[in-house]
């Protein structure tokens, strides 16, 4: 039997997600792809009489006539619920300081005929005593139950769950009608097939919707006359004075660049401590496991310490950085700064065929392209949205960080400029910047090349500044880290197992004999992985890569972060087993390796620069390909994306290597 559902609907910035987080804690899963702003999360909550209930946080929307993909998701869920006849409660979360505008959505949802509850949120901004009158007004005039809460401070949450319980149990016991109302039927005719159909909607339909909207607002204004709104004076939120600087055409951009610089500097400085800690724990655990397993089964010990552990360690080591990145993004978003950056950048982004709203996914792309691709859903124009998706993988995601960190050591000496800026840190910044520049240039190409029609809008609410909610500051990043470890973990474990098999066995060696120790493990060169790498070598030789790097390129096609694990596996396997006691760190082993037949180090400057550039540009991430496929609903765009980024990476690496030789 399907559980009763509660949908949280409301305008963007109404505090819906804050209420959702406050009600559910960490016990929720993503109903869809997670994103920074555009997320559709669901969780099971326990209500006193109804019992297990699914709570769904729908994307924000201003009306039930959607214009963007995220709005469509929300509207479709509501309209479909109206025709399904399952016990459903729609909760409309309203920013109490913005009642007038929210009434449009309320009046539309009211006509769906679902059980309904209004939650007047953000009551810190409205003098509370007067709110009683507004609640009364909802019950008497609108015939809707309403209540007051402050999700940010966690005030009134008990009353909220109690009301949910009451409304839902009424809905369960009332006769559910499976007949969609007239309104839902006509909605389905226009939007049922998705947003594309709406673009071709006739002028007559559009005119009808406009007339309806005017009529609704006329009736809303009529009924609001009796609403004691004037008794609820809006308390001043944080002053908007900073906008003089933050929205200044020059000052605003300078501040934005400074915020970004601070973010990355902090990211590298703060995250390195927990990262080192995790790395050491993994080393320690690996060594202990080896000592325990080795006497019983050398093969199993080999599999675990050489195959699995480097792979798992490679995932876990990212967690602090991903947490910090998301913490920053939540801070920027919740304080209201992100909307201002979108506003500020729209003019420039429009010129390169993107949208002000592209900035949120682009910044999210520094963390991970997969949720960022989903976060493009609030961009109305399909062309701008598509361009954003296409260039997103050029933003250096956190999976590139360990690759950069490992390789930079070979290309740039340690040392400082002016005593504070580390050379290697600056190089890292340079690589990020290079990705951004490549994204801008690619967007320009897309602008002239993509032939997709559709309206282009930029209409964005600029919310009042507010302090971020402390709960969201740890919950959202933590949720993201868990998702990452689960998602990337699977891929990496599978790939590292596969790599271990390929690297441990070879043609001409009987697997059973190798496993039982009757035959020695083949040298890497003679293993399947080695054969594969050798086959690839002619193609990558001009970039300065040998067959071992070739193996890493192949394995890290699934996910870039596998590169480091692959290097660890390759150089772990290559080393003399007797040397294990004084285990050399990966870096030293890589440094000792030379180009075959010469004394030249394999990881020489030219080759390392070439490799860095390759990783900055190449689309080595199966999850991104899958996300693009899902969001564009075709194989055309992910394949184009894969092809152009691979070509870009290859040619750029070729140029760098040949030039710096």
């Amino acid at each position: 039997m399907s559980l009763p559902r509660i949908f949280l609907a409301g305008n963007p910035n109404s505090g819906k997600s804050t209420l959702f987080n406050a009600l559910t804690g960490l016990h929720h899963k993503t109903a869809n792809f997670p994103g920074v702003t555009v997320e559709s999360l669901q969780a099971e909550i326990e209500l006193r009489t109804v019992g297990q209930t699914i709570l769904v946080d729908l994307p924000g929307t201003y009306s039930l006539y959607p214009q963007s993909q995220d709005e469509w998701v929300a509207c479709q869920a509501l309209v479909q619920a109206a025709s399904e006849g399952l016990p459903t409660l729609v909760v409309v979360v309203v920013d109490a300081a913005n009642l007038n505008r929210s009434m449009l959505l309320i009046s539309q949802i009211q006509e769906l005929g679902l059980a309904m509850q209004v939650v007047l949120n953000k009551c810190d901004r409205v003098a509370s005593p007067g709110m009683k009158g507004v609640v009364q007004w909802f019950e008497n005039e609108m015939k809707i139950k309403a209540l007051v809460c402050d999700a940010r401070k966690g005030l009134g949450l008990k009353e909220v769950s109690k009301a949910f319980d009451q409304r839902l149990s009424e809905a369960v016991h009332s006769e559910a009608s499976n007949e969609p109302g007239n309104w839902a039927t006509s909605w389905n005719q226009v939007f049922g097939q998705g947003l594309e159909a709406q673009n071709t909607a006739s002028d007559a339909v559009r005119a009808r919707h406009s007339a309806e909207t005017i009529d609704r607002y006329r009736r809303i204004n009529q009924s609001l006359k009796t609403c004691p709104l004037h008794e609820t004076k809006a308390k001043a939120a944080l002053p908007n004075g900073p906008d003089r600087v933050l929205l200044h055409p020059v000052g605003g951009i300078l501040v934005f660049v400074a915020v970004m610089a601070l973010m990355f500097q902090a990211l590298f400085a703060w995250a390195s401590y927990p990262m080192d800690f995790i790395e050491n724990i993994m080393l320690w655990a690996g060594e202990n496991l080896r000592q325990i397993l080795e006497p019983h089964s050398p093969a199993l010990s080999h599999l675990v310490t050489k195959g699995l552990m480097p792979g798992i360690g490679g995932v876990l080591v990212f967690v602090p950085q991903i947490f910090l990145l998301f913490l920053f993004l939540v801070l920027l978003e919740e304080s209201g700064y992100m909307a201002r950056v979108s506003y500020l950048m729209d003019r420039n982004l429009k010129r390169i065929g993107l949208n002000g709203k592209s900035i949120v996914p682009m910044l999210g792309g520094f963390a991970c392209a997969v949720p960022a691709i989903a976060a493009t859903r609030n961009i109305v124009s399909w062309k701008e949205r598509l361009s954003t998706i296409m260039v997103l993988p050029l933003m250096s995601c956190s999976a590139r960080l360990p690759v950069y960190a490992l390789l930079i050591q070979f290309a740039v000496p340690e040392g400082y400029i002016l005593g504070i800026f580390s050379l290697q840190g600056l190089t890292m910044m340079g690589l990020y910047l290079m990705g951004v520049v490549a994204a801008v240039l690619s967007a320009l190409v897309m602008k002239f090349w993509i032939r997709e029609k559709g309206p282009s809008y930029f209409m964005l609410e600029i919310p009042a500044y507010q302090w971020p909610v402390s709960r969201n500051l740890w919950q959202v990043p933590l949720r993201y880290c868990l998702n990452f470890v689960q998602g990337a973990g699977k891929v990496i474990v599978i790939v590292s197992l596969l790599l271990w098999v390929l690297a441990s066995f070879g043609p001409g060696h009987k697997i059973t004999e190798t496993l039982t120790g009757k035959a020695p493990t083949p040298a890497l060169e003679q293993s399947y992985a080695g054969v594969l790498g050798k086959a690839l070598e002619p193609a990558i030789r001009p970039l300065g890569f040998d067959w071992k790097i070739g193996i890493a390129l192949v394995t890290s096609f699934a996910a870039r972060e596998v590169f480091v694990g692959t290097m660890a596996t390759i150089y772990g396997l290559e080393g003399d087993p007797n040397e294990e006691g004084n285990q050399l760190r990966l870096k030293e082993r890589m440094q000792k390796d030379t180009v075959e037949g010469s004394k030249e180090p394999l990881f020489n400057r030219a080759a390392v620069w070439s490799l860095l550039v390759f990783y900055a540009f190449a689309l080595q991430c199966m999850s991104t390909v899958a996300a693009t496929r899902q969001e564009t609903r075709s194989w055309k765009w992910p394949l184009i994306q894969l092809f152009y980024l691979s070509a870009l990476a290859y040619l750029a690496s070729l140029a760098v290597y040949q030039w710096s030789l």
Binding site: Y62, N98, I214, D346, K350, P455, F458, A464
Partner: protein, 91 residues
């Protein structure tokens, strides 16, 4: 100040404006849903250099929009604001 009328992208900043009408376009529905209705008061609170984008205060909140979108909104300003054309009986 004498009575003036014009499109929102050309209107002065920091002056109370009254929405007279919206152009028939695919933008107008979205604008109305966001609160830009005939008869509604608004004010331009920020304008980027070159006039694009601009931020308006309408229905107690701030909305950022492009000048192309603002061009679809026809406003009046001055001493005696025009009456709401959609709703002549209400000022």
């Amino acid at each position: 100040m004498p009575q003036r009328e014009g499109s929102l992208d050309q209107a002065p900043m920091g002056v109370p404006l009254l929405i007279v009408r919206l152009d028939e376009s695919d933008l107008s529905l979205k604008l109305m849903e966001m609160g830009c209705l005939p008869g509604e008061k608004l004010e331009i609170v920020h304008r980027a250099s070159g006039g694009d984008p601009l931020a308006i205060k309408v229905m107690e909140y701030v909305l950022g929009l492009r000048s192309r979108e603002a061009a679809a909104v026809w406003v009046s300003w001055g001493d005696t604001p025009l009456r709401n054309l959609w709703n002549p009986q209400e000022p």
